[in-house]
Every structure is written in structure tokens, then in C-alpha cells.
């Protein structure tokens, strides 16, 4: 029996009733990764170690944990001890971390097996996975189309059924948008829910790790393991972590869902709009009520984000100087020349663009006009959400204004075109709120995602609403035809 397209819950059953061993499972997963090499999901494979760990699990026969023996893929932005971590950048193309990120360590301690590190936009800066030093990732649904970004490799690996789930990070939509474009489920938890220790920083006040999986149920399994306070990350929250899996099956009768008045959906592609209306009806049938809410400042989200994120990125990326780790330029005249050449050679165009914007926004004289102003607008956006959550439990929007697009068709002339991809996802990062994207059908045989944004720390409600939707529909079961790969 093939393990392709199986969920974690399915694989757990197969492992428990001994219809497959952990070693066989890992072997098959690794073979699938090889078979679909052309998708370009993976930057580095972890073959030798995975096989060893699976054998050890088979010998020990300890299957107390739900994740024991389950193959997973990690976004190549999580540091993994002894396993190359590149952030899909030339500047880190030779970097082997001496430690493992907390989120990954927790998953590995629970028995899951990291089979490889997934391709992504360079330093997570992009919405199409086209800024990677290691090349484009193909969307499993259509060759030559983007998988979304920045967690594009993770989303494609799950959508192609190579692994049941993968980790991602979300700074402005980087889990939810690729999940939507690849027809899978992706969750960005509340800021601080999962430790950022070992996650290579892009914009520290917006970055959040999270799971990408085939179902909301699997996202809950991963979230249970990844969450929790970490003394090594002082922004990780000290609040209680509920059992997300336990509460996933509650009826959603009377759930109040808000529709954001300021997002004018009639501007969208008519088919994307039609999918949204259909899902709204499905939720109404399940007992949810829809209320229109106003978030007057939400239209400022994209410019606010593109002031804050590059500013923080320019600060975070200043450590890449070619001295202690990563790419170092050859034949340099002096120290300054070493810095300049190493960085000029090591970073790609989009990363350079954002470092330039950020350095400008933080420079003396402009700090108050840009960075400080953006932080003030950010607070207004957060207040808008707080007001909205007085009257609703969750907010619903499309995840992305459109479906996956062709390589090179967007943002090559004007980067802002690509920045607008994140229109619906960015505001929850600014406000630090949890949000989930679930597949809800297709437009021109490419998947479309539905986004639910929840109140602070209410991932349980989102997973519950998503699971009930998936129990009553089969959009999440749709599989791509991988014949072209």
C-alpha cells in the first residue's frame, strides 16, 4: 500500500497495526522525494540519519507518541544540528548549524523523522518561491506554476504526498498563501505560541512558525507538539497550551464569523468570489452566523508591513558579513571590502531590495517618518481587530486574491504587484493573531484557499471550525495529478 497522500492520522494507524514499519515508511517517503525531484521541493536530504532513526524506532518498538516514526520535512530556515541550513540563500549555502531549533527539536523528540529541508524564498522574502538561490519550486498541480511562498517547498512536498506534513514560517502569509496555492491546510499560530529559537530571523516581531498538512486534524497534532514556552525565546508565550486535538470535534452551531467590510470581494476574480460564497453557505449550513464587521484601518496593512518588515530584516541580516559563517568573497582588499563583496555576492535581488528599504526607513531623520509611524498604524490595526472580536469569534476571507500563477509572470517589472498577493494574510501578522488556510475547491484546476482569522490564542477555535468544514466536505482530499513530474 502506497503511503503517498496519507495523513499523519492514517500513517499512525498503519504503523500501529504493523501493516508498515517505520523503516519502510521512511524508505518510501525518501523514494517519493527522489521520484518527484523535478518539483524541487528539497534543498538538502537527510537520508542516512532518517534511515538510522527509523531503524532505531523499529527496534525499540516504542510508539507512545503520535508522531513516532512519521516522516516530516522542515523549512530550510530552521537550524538543524549537523544538517545544512541555507535559508535558500547563497550566503548560507555552506552553513551547518551546531544546534537545532526548538520547534524542530520538539517534533524530533516526539519521534518524528526529518527527511529533508525544504526550498523556500530566500530568507523567506517572497510570495512565489522564485527568489530561492536553489531555483523555483513547481506547483504539484501544474508544472511551471508557482507553489506560493515563502514556504513553497514545504507546501509542495505535502501537496505531492511525499510527506504527510511539514513545518513552515509565516511573516506575512508565508504558510497560508502556499498552503492555499497547493491545496493543503496551513496554520499560522498566535505570535509567541511557538518558540523562535533557531528560526533564522526575517522580521522578528512578525515571524511565527507553524504546520502545513493535509488536514486540520494533522495541524492540531503538530501544533500540540510545537507549542509552548521556551526560556531561550523571551517572546514565546507563557500561557497554557490546550490539547488542540481533543477539542477539534465540537459542533460549531452559533459560531459567529465576521466578514470584513473593507475587503471588497467584488473586485476579485469572479470564480474565486464564487468559491468564497459557496463556502460561506457551507458554514451557514453547519450553523455558523455571518456578521459584517468594519476594520477601518486594515487597508493600511500592506504599506505598514512593507515599512516594518524590511526595517527588521535590515537589522537581522546585518550579521551575514562573511566573517564567522556562510559565504565569504575571495580576493578582498580589506575588512570593509570583505563585507561588501561577501554580501553583494551572497544576497539575491529581493533580499538586497528589502535591506535597502529597511536601512533607509531606520536611518536618522526617517525613523520617525517611516518606522515609528508604521508601528503606530500597526497599533491601530490591532485595535480594529480587538473591536471586531468583541462581536465575532473569527473572521473569514479568501487566503489569496487569486490562484497560483506562472513562473515570472508577476512582480518582475514591479515588485509591488507581488506584494499585493499578501493583501488578506498580512494583517494577522501585524496584529499577532492566529489564522488558518483550508482548501475549498478549485478554479481552472488550481486550488483556492479559505482563510479564517481567530482571536489571540484561539487556535483551538480555528482548528475546530476547519475540521468540521473538512468533515463535511472533500476539498481537502483532492489530489494533484503528478503525471508531468
Amino acid at each position: 500500500m502506497s503511503i503517498q497522500f496519507k495523513s499523519i492520522a492514517d500513517l499512525r494507524e498503519m504503523l500501529d497495526d504493523k501493516s508498515i514499519s517505520a523503516s519502510e515508511l521512511i524508505q518510501e517517503s525518501l523514494e517519493l522525494a527522489k521520484k518527484y525531484k523535478e518539483l524541487n521541493c528539497f534543498v538538502t536530504m537527510n537520508e542516512e540519519f532518517s534511515v538510522k532513526k527509523a531503524n532505531a524506532i523499529d527496534v525499540n518498538k516504542k510508539t507512545s507518541s503520535r508522531l513516532s516514526g512519521i516522516p516530516l520535512a522542515q523549512k530550510d530556515l530552521f537550524c538543524t544540528e549537523g544538517l545544512r541550513t541555507t535559508c535558500s540563500s547563497k550566503i548560507l549555502s555552506n552553513f551547518i548549524p551546531p544546534y537545532t531549533a526548538t520547534a524542530v527539536k520538539k517534533l524530533e523528540d516526539a519521534g518524528s523523522i526529518t527527511i529533508g529541508k525544504t526550498n523556500m524564498d530566500e530568507f523567506a522574502m517572497g510570495s512565489s518561491n522564485e527568489t530561492s538561490f536553489f531555483g523555483n519550486v513547481h506547483n504539484p498541480w501544474k508544472k511551471g506554476y508557482v507553489p506560493g511562498g515563502s514556504s513553497g517547498g514545504s507546501a509542495a512536498a505535502v501537496a505531492a504526498g511525499i510527506v504527510p506534513a511539514a513545518t513552515g514560517t509565516d511573516t506575512g502569509g508565508s504558510i497560508r498563501q502556499p498552503a492555499a496555492h497547493c491545496g493543503i491546510t496551513g496554520l499560522k499560530p498566535t505570535y509567541g505560541r511557538i518558540s523562535r529559537w533557531g528560526m533564522i530571523a526575517f522580521a522578528s516581531s512578525l515571524d511565527q512558525a507553524g504546520p502545513l498538512a493535509r488536514t486540520a486534524e494533522d495541524c492540531a497534532i503538530l501544533l500540540n507538539t510545537m507549542s509552548g514556552h521556551d526560556a531561550k525565546d523571551t517572546t514565546s508565550l507563557n500561557s497554557n497550551v490546550p490539547d488542540f486535538l481533543e477539542n477539534i470535534n465540537q459542533p460549531i452551531d452559533g459560531l459567529k464569523i465576521g466578514l470584513i467590510k473593507e475587503f471588497n470581494l467584488s473586485d476579485l476574480d469572479s470564480q474565486v468570489q464564487a468559491r468564497f460564497e459557496e463556502s460561506k453557505k457551507a458554514y451557514e449550513k453547519l450553523g455558523a452566523q455571518f456578521i459584517e464587521v468594519s476594520l477601518p484601518n486594515i487597508s493600511a496593512s500592506v504599506p505598514t508591513y512593507y515599512s516594518i518588515a524590511p526595517a527588521e530584516c535590515s537589522s537581522n541580516l546585518s550579521r551575514f558579513d562573511g566573517v564567522r559563517f556562510g559565504h565569504r568573497a575571495e580576493s578582498t582588499d580589506d575588512l570593509n571590502d570583505l563585507y561588501i563583496k561577501s554580501r553583494s555576492e551572497g544576497f539575491g535581488d529581493e533580499v538586497k531590495r528589502r535591506i535597502l528599504i529597511g536601512t533607509y526607513a531606520l536611518s536618522a531623520g526617517y525613523y520617525d517618518a517611516y518606522y515609528k509611524k508604521a508601528q503606530q498604524v500597526r497599533r491601530l490595526i490591532k485595535n480594529d481587530f480587538d473591536n471586531a472580536f468583541q462581536s465575532v469569534d473569527a473572521l473569514m476571507t479568501p487566503t489569496s486574491p487569486n490562484t497560483a500563477f506562472k513562473f515570472g509572470s508577476k512582480g518582475t517589472q514591479n515588485p509591488v504587484e507581488l506584494y499585493l498577493e499578501d493583501l488578506f494574510t498580512i494583517s494577522s501578522n501585524l496584529a499577532g493573531l492566529p489564522a488558518i488556510s483550508i482548501p475549498h475547491g478549485q478554479v481552472n484546476s488550481l486550488p483556492v484557499g479559505l482563510q479564517l482569522i481567530g482571536n489571540f490564542l484561539r487556535e483551538d477555535q480555528l482548528l475546530n471550525a476547519a475540521h468540521i468544514f473538512q468533515k463535511n466536505s472533500d476539498y481537502h482530499l483532492a489530489k494533484p495529478n503528478l503525471g508531468d513530474f
Binding site: P98, S204, R319
Partner: protein, 117 residues
């Protein structure tokens, strides 16, 4: 035209803490080279600084000793802020404490000395 003299002081004090300001590496003097150093001090990708609790206590204690006002909430906010902006912002915090001190006691003293001269 009359001028008002305002003098600011920035004091750098080496604190007697066991570990460094942003990491758990030891501050012991005389250890072998490259031993009192850890992942955070190396600035490796993905690491996050954790501020030394003792250093904050010492700053607060100093503030109280000289009669400065200790703002409970703004220190917490500054701490959160600092984690994003790191070192630059610590300086901001120290400046803030120093500024409070100056405004309350030191300036009075300096003015008095100035008048004597």
C-alpha cells in the same frame, strides 16, 4: 540672549554579574581563550538574546538608590521592544534611566557647582 546649560552624562558601568548581558556565557576573568563564549555571543543565525535578569535588577536598584522613578510598565514594554531591536535599544533604556537620574538630582548638583564657578 540668555543660555541655559543642560549637561547629560552617559555612564558605562561593568556590572558584577556571573553571566553576560545577553547570554549565559560566563564573565569570569582569566579563563582560557574562546571558552566564555556561546551560540548567542557568536551571533549565529537563528539565535535570540535573553536579557540577564540580574543586570535589570541592578539597574533598577541603582535607580532606586539615587531616587529615580522606576516605571514598571514601560520597562516591560521596552524589554519587548528591545528584543526586536536588540543592542541599540538597550542603550535607549540605559539612556532613559540615566536621563531620569540627571533630571532629578545630578542637574541640581551641576547647576549648584556652575553657580559657584
Amino acid at each position: 540672549m540668555s543660555w541655559e546649560t543642560v549637561i547629560g552624562l552617559e555612564t558605562h558601568v561593568q556590572l558584577s554579574t556571573k553571566t553576560k548581558l545577553f547570554s549565559r556565557a560566563s564573565t569570569a576573568f582569566g579563563a582560557s581563550p574562546n571558552t566564555n563564549v556561546n551560540l548567542i555571543d557568536c551571533g549565529l543565525p537563528g539565535v535570540l538574546p535573553s536579557v540577564n535578569k540580574e543586570a535589570f535588577y541592578k539597574a533598577i536598584r541603582f535607580g532606586m538608590a539615587v531616587g529615580a522613578q522606576i516605571n514598571q510598565t514601560s520597562i516591560l514594554l521596552d524589554l519587548e521592544w528591545l528584543l526586536v531591536q536588540r543592542l541599540i535599544k538597550l542603550q535607549y533604556l540605559t539612556e532613559k534611566i540615566t536621563f531620569t537620574l540627571i533630571s532629578q538630582r545630578v542637574i541640581k548638583l551641576l547647576k549648584w557647582i556652575y553657580q559657584l564657578l
